[in-house]
């Protein structure tokens, strides 16, 4: 920068450059202050709580806090053979404190999850301690080992040692049907008990197929809406927008009525002779119901982005393609279709994101074979109360969604989302 430009001064005698920078900064702060209330609100009530889900999902401090002396003594133990006297003594005094606080039951339950059979032997030990059967002047190791033969089994002590770290990834492994084996390595759950992997795959499968169905059904009507004269397309647009604005539960309810065994769809099939009256197919409480209802419910989210892209394509392009010798099919495939790809991307990603986290409709029409990962999260939140597992599963789902959201943002840009 030359010295002459620096000498341009404003009327106050401040160099122009400084003055402009100041004004720019002031404007930036002004703009930011307008966004700040919402940003702050969202961070406190939404973004941080989602972050907290992470701490909750890896948190395993309960046992760490319950058995401080045991874990202190275990630091010196190599974990291969039965632990030395100090570990037994540490465990004994920790356990006595728990009995005094009447929280020993929680320890038994938690250890039982780590290794089956813990609940009964901790209870047995508790009874011995309550009856003052343990003589503290003698070897505590010998006395505890006499309480039950499992206390002599090194695997049970290894299980206690595994619970020592205050953080654990066990919930995430459980979400993928894996667990920490006795020696600390990662092992697969038996094949007949791999329920979560089935759920993940089913969620992906249903989201994928719903997206494909929505695309196949949405593309033609978006094209029709974009090419029809305004007065007709406005009328037809209502068919897309009315379901869009109607309560999700109302739409799900109508599908429950339509798809039931005595419902209208089955009546129609009987009428045209497709199925026998006494052999009506079950269309609800299975995957069919989930597919049909979710496709209808998510279809507007496909049609609207496609429509807004198609609306901008000039009809003369197709005419030009045809006049240059392309058949209508070639003109469509080489000219029109490539121009609609941004709309296809936007619509498909939006539908996929919404479908992958769907909860209400699968829960009502899905039955056992139509439930998705969201239903499993809700189940653990409400029924088993295993909130840390629900958090872990939620975050696994969220990370998948965020990847798609990131792609969507790169391809479409969030500020280009169109509504209505």
């Amino acid at each position: 920068m030359s010295s002459e430009t620096k000498q341009i001064l404003t009327t106050d005698g401040i160099p122009l450059e400084v003055s402009l920078k100041k004004a720019e900064k002031k404007n930036k702060i002004k703009a930011f202050l307008l966004v700040a209330p919402l940003l702050l609100f969202l961070f406190i009530t939404y973004v941080f709580p989602i972050g907290e889900m992470f701490t909750r999902s890896v948190d395993d401090k309960m046992i760490t806090n319950m058995l401080p002396k045991t874990f202190k003594a275990m630091e010196k133990w190599d974990g291969k053979e039965l632990p030395p006297e100090e570990v037994f003594a540490g465990f004994y005094s920790d356990y006595k404190v728990l009995i005094e606080n009447q929280t020993q039951g929680k320890l038994g339950q938690r250890l039982n999850k780590e290794k089956n059979g813990f609940n009964s032997i901790t209870k047995k030990l508790m009874r011995q301690i309550k009856r003052n059967k343990i003589d503290e002047s003698q070897s505590i190791k010998e006395q505890i080992m006499k309480v039950h033969k499992r206390w002599r089994d090194v695997e049970y002590w290894q299980a206690i040692k595994r619970t020592a770290p205050p953080y654990t990834m066990a919930k995430y492994l459980k979400g993928m049907d894996m667990y920490f084996a006795a020696d600390g390595s990662i092992a697969q759950v038996d094949e007949d008990r791999r329920i979560h992997r089935i759920l993940w795959l089913r969620t992906l499968e249903i989201a994928l197929f719903v997206t494909i169905f929505c695309f196949l059904m949405g593309y033609p009507i978006a094209h029709l809406l974009a090419t029809l004269p305004m007065k007709y397309s406005n009328l037809l647009m209502i068919c897309v927008l009315l379901p869009f604005w109607t309560s999700l539960l109302v739409r799900t309810a109508s599908w429950m009525i339509l798809l039931q065994q005595q419902g209208v769809v089955n009546d129609f099939f009987v009428l045209i002779g497709l199925v026998a009256d006494n052999n009506r197919p079950e269309m609800m409480y299975n995957k069919v119901g989930t597919y049909v209802a979710m496709t209808q419910i998510l279809l507007p989210f496909m049609v609207l982005p496609l429509y807004s892209v198609m609306k901008t394509i000039s009809p003369s392009l197709m005419r030009a393609g045809k006049s240059l010798g392309g058949t209508p099919f070639v003109a469509f495939w080489k000219v029109y279709f490539p121009l609609t790809i941004p709309g296809i991307g936007a619509g498909c990603l939006l539908v996929f994101i919404l479908a992958i986290g769907y909860y209400i409709t699968p829960a009502l029409v899905g039955g056992a074979s139509g439930t998705l990962i969201s239903n499993q999260i809700a189940y653990h939140m409400k029924s088993t109360l295993d909130w840390s597992f629900a958090s872990a599963m939620g975050l696994m789902l969220l990370s998948g969604v965020l990847v798609i959201y990131w792609i969507y943002n790169k391809l479409v840009g969030v500020d280009n989302i169109k509504l209505g």
Binding site: V250, G357, S374, N409, K418
Partner: protein, 284 residues
């Protein structure tokens, strides 16, 4: 969609096939809503068309379930409707205020990190509701707002603001900023300029965003299921319980009312959209 007379037969066939597909899809979209109307007037207790209804026998139809919905003993719909409206109205007001302010800031060309901030503000719309529900529940439980109206209203503000942000930013994208500068140069203070100049111009966007926020709150069930106690039940929660437990035709009467409500909202939103496009000079 008349075809020119010189169209070849195969394209003619293809064209009719295309029209047939479109007809089917439109039917698929809209028909499920209409099955609810006649069934809500069913005189019987079952959710299927009775023989009498198929013969259009007037005795097979009645207002029985509407009567049940309004005057039924121990029925939850009155409380649910009251709660739904209170929660939705407050959530809409909150979403409009926070969302409009944020949209004003985001539309300024001086705004730093625009893309990143926009992505955060829109995220409640993208993150699966079940995850939002879990996170919001943990927060509300910690601050002692679970099972209160305030907690649900705050949760619905979170879910509703993205819609307001999107619609208002869209309206502001065609906004001529010289009018606000003109107002300031004529001595108007920023608040006055906003109330007298900016707000009237962006009002269609604000209202249609507000409608989205209202519908989102009015229709939201996943988060409410986590947050609500018996006192805070809303219409969607009642419908959810009803659909899971006993499928009574009263639900269809409620559903019919909801469809009428959504039709009204759709008409308002459409009128506003057209007005806003006219104001922004988009002629189609």
């Amino acid at each position: 969609m008349a075809l020119p007379s010189y169209t070849e037969t195969r394209y003619r066939i293809w064209h009719y096939f295309y029209v047939a597909i479109c007809t089917f899809v439109f039917f698929f979209l809209i028909a499920p809503l209409f099955v609810i109307f006649p069934l809500s007037f069913n005189a019987e207790e079952f959710l299927v068309f009775s023989e009498g209804m198929k013969r259009l026998d007037p005795d097979a139809f009645s207002f029985r379930w509407y009567h049940e919905m309004v005057y039924g003993t121990k029925n939850p719909w009155g409380l649910a409707a009251k709660n739904s409206f209170i929660i939705a109205i407050f959530a809409t007001i909150g979403s409009i205020i926070l969302g409009t302010l944020a949209a004003l800031g985001l539309s300024s060309r001086h705004m730093p990190y625009k893309g990143l901030i926009m992505a955060v503000l829109i995220s409640p719309m993208i993150v699966p509701l079940i995850i939002s529900g879990v996170a919001i529940f943990f927060f509300m439980a910690k601050v002692g707002l679970a099972a209160t109206h305030t907690g649900i209203v705050l949760a619905h503000i979170i879910l509703g603001t993205p819609f307001v942000v999107i619609t208002v930013t869209a309206t502001l994208s065609g906004f001529d900023h010289s009018v606000t500068r003109a107002a300031s140069s004529l001595g108007s203070n920023p608040v006055n300029t906003f109330m007298k100049i900016t707000l009237p111009l962006i009002l269609p966007g604000v209202i249609s965003g507000g409608l989205f926020a209202f519908v989102t709150s009015f229709d939201e069930v996943v988060v409410v299921l986590f947050l609500a106690g018996l006192e805070n039940t809303t219409i969607p929660v009642q419908m959810w319980t009803g659909l899971r437990e006993q499928l009574s035709p009263t639900i269809l009467a409620v559903a019919t009312c909801l469809i009428i409500l959504s039709t009204l909202i759709l008409v308002t939103a459409e009128l506003l959209r057209r007005r806003s496009e006219r104001l922004r000079g988009i002629n189609r």
